[in-house]
């Protein structure tokens, strides 16, 4: 599937996952990938964090006002914040309560009311996202959702409120949000995970719950932090080390860099062998988890590489966005009448987890 087709399937992508799996990085990667494909992307952050800007190599946290993160030709990536408080204040303003909203906030009355109407904050945020979608504020709207647990609450708040509120504008709002979330042509949830025991287990559980309880359609699962394969390291074994050393020609310097010149030695080969063994062992563990995820959750997987950086910036984001694009290119086109795709999750009319 080409990138534009992928991002045109629906306007809103909600990126969800456990804490620490790189949700914000993935949201930023998707925005950059679509911008590089000439589309306009808008990231909506619900907490006013710094992670999105950091991913684009910028400093500071996101504001209520949109900020441009990247542009190239027709494509652009922007981001803004919509916290529950932002959405609540905006809602009050829309209902001619702007004059008193400040006092309500300072007296704490707003907090009490928001607590007494469970889910109201989430409904207002989702309502605001729905409004951005309706006003076509961008080709793609990418929502950096709260960490799962919270994400489940967030996405099921509308159906919960429908049961509680039997009349009034809040009910109407909740109804519209439920319709929006359950319409695969408007919104999909993308789960982010790591190829490790605990995140995989949680993703599987979350996926089924999200479909059952929030009625959302799931897009591909993004598996972040995948280790890439190495050449077989047995060439560095005790028996082979010496002859391998003898077979090297050199000179060695890393591509694009004249500054790192290397002299091979037995000690160096020993270190290389240890690192390669460790790497391969972890990669095998990852492969097991990826396999388990594929077996238990029949959704396409998109793999993003582990980049060996303790923090990331725009260069890393470009590398990730290229990996993402390659992965998307490998997803079969759902529009085709292909017999194979009838089993593919994400096809309208068929639930991913029914298989």
């Amino acid at each position: 599937m080409d990138l534009v087709t992928f991002f045109r399937q629906n306007k809103v992508l909600i990126v969800a996952g456990k804490g620490g799996v790189g949700k914000s990085t993935v949201a930023a990667t998707m925005a950059l990938a679509s911008a590089r494909a000439g589309m306009s992307a808008l990231i909506v952050d619900l907490e006013g964090k710094t992670a999105i800007k950091t991913a684009f190599g910028m400093e500071g946290s996101l504001d209520y006002e949109e900020v441009l993160l990247y542009s190239s030709g027709a494509g652009a990536a922007r981001a803004r914040r919509i916290t529950p408080d932002d959405a609540l204040l905006e809602y009050l303003a829309d209902h001619s309560l702007k004059r008193i909203s400040k006092r309500l906030v300072s007296s704490g009355a707003l907090e009490v009311v928001a607590t007494a109407i469970p889910g109201i904050r989430d409904i207002l945020v989702l309502g605001k996202i729905k409004q951005l979608e309706r006003r076509e504020m961008a080709d793609v709207i990418i929502v950096d959702a709260p960490a799962t647990g919270h994400a489940m609450t967030f996405l099921t708040s509308a159906s919960g409120l429908l049961e509680a509120a039997r009349s009034g504008p809040v009910r109407t709002q909740a109804q519209e949000v439920v319709e929006f979330l359950s319409d695969p042509s408007r919104c999909r949830v993308v789960l982010v995970t790591l190829p490790e025991e605990m995140p995989v287990a949680e993703s599987i559980e979350t996926a089924y719950q999200l479909e059952d309880r929030a009625g959302v359609t799931l897009g591909p699962v993004i598996v972040n932090g995948c280790l890439e394969p190495l050449p077989p390291a047995d060439i560095l074994s005790e028996a082979n080390k010496k002859s391998f050393l003898g077979s090297l020609h050199g000179p060695f310097n890393f591509t694009g860099s004249e500054t790192i010149k290397i002299t091979p030695s037995i000690d160096l080969l020993e270190g290389m062998a240890q690192a390669a063994t460790f790497h391969d062992h972890r990669r095998m563990q990852q492969a097991e988890q990826r396999q388990r995820l594929a077996e238990e959750l029949p959704l396409p997987q998109l793999h993003l590489p582990y980049l060996f950086r303790p923090s990331s910036g725009l260069n890393e984001l470009h590398a990730l966005s290229e990996s993402l694009s390659r992965g998307i290119a490998g997803i079969p086109d759902p529009a085709g009448e292909d017999a194979d795709t009838s089993d593919m999750p994400g096809v309208p009319g068929r639930k991913a987890t029914e298989l």
Partner: protein
Amino acid sequence: MTGGHTGNVQHPNTLDHLTSEHSVIVCCGSGGVGKTTTSAAIALAGAMSGRRTCVVTVDPARRLATALGIEQLTNTPVPISPEALELPQGGELWAMMLDPKATFDGLIDRYAPSRQQAERIMENRIYKELTSALSGTQEYMAMEKLYELVEEGGYDLVVVDTPPTRNAIDFLEAPSRLVHFLEHRLFRMLLAPTRVYLKAVSIATQAFLRTISKVAGAEIVDDAVAFFQAFEGMEEGFRTRAEKMSALVKETSTGFVLVTSPRQDAVTEADWFAKRLHQMGIEVKALVVNRTHPMFVQGEELLQSLVTTHLADAPTLPDGGAGTGSAEDYLKSLLSLIPPPVHTENTAIVTDPDTIFELLLANLLRYQLIALTEQHTYSDLAAHLATAHRQDPDIAAGSTAPAQRPFAVINVPLMTEDVHDLEGLKAMAGALATSARA
């Protein structure tokens, strides 16, 4: 470690200090850094030093939960077979997986003046929402359970894992927030919505209430009134308990352990959290840095011979101790020179020795450089915490602590397998002790 006596170990390491001098250990940090596993490993270390220990976990990984024998939400701790753990005399390990709803129900039972009132509350829709969905409830219930276990459980040590909140500080503020909620004047007004009382509230609030009723529907307001009425008379009990919980957290026998991953974003968050704790008068007793990358060759030597001497203006490489910004930047710039691990179809069938050498060397250098960079990423935080620790009046006075009690920076290396069973947990407890001793 398995000596079996508490308090009089000859050469105690900092982990022993942690588990023997505290009756409560709170593990906090942002989501996904391994708090649950760390809590369980610290609790195991406590049990291995002969203490009756209980760990309260929130949302553990299934296989770990299975290993601990707590596959379902429980409201009471279950013991883990001492044989399986090879615990010394007196050492016990109990574990439980927090059930926020059952804990809240227990609290209602405790404070409701009558059975009928308790039932009225538990049947209320808002109460049900409050216990299942509302963020903050899980945090509050973790605190409540901790308090209950400390007061009534008879444990030497209770280790608590905090819920993955947006701001980990929510955990500490949750009890007072609930009390604030129950005592808010708007709530009082809902309790007694008489004309007289309405006069006492601001016009803004009146207008707001009318609007709520209009926009959210009368049912919501009715439910809310019923909910608050059901709670009538219980605020006092809740407030007293919340105050006791706040006091417990600040006692010197309560130790906070900050858990982080070595990633920049997690360390930044841990730093912020440490500052907030400091403002609240709480000192962090140990820093656990989870899943740091291993060093395969003594990093400095290797890099010195490989890289530094080849760089005309390279600064001296750091010794792995307190780092400077420039050394960190230098390492990052080195890392950026190593080609990233790109996906290639034919890596496995490469035969040219020079290419294999370059690929495997790049792999080694990536591991070495990320390990060194990680050390620098968290060394500033560790230095701040150690300074704050030395200035802590309890330690300065030397009342309970032996002189020169060091601040613990515990580094848990990334293992080839993730911790998911008792063996893994033992290995992690061992790694904690080893790192604490170093």
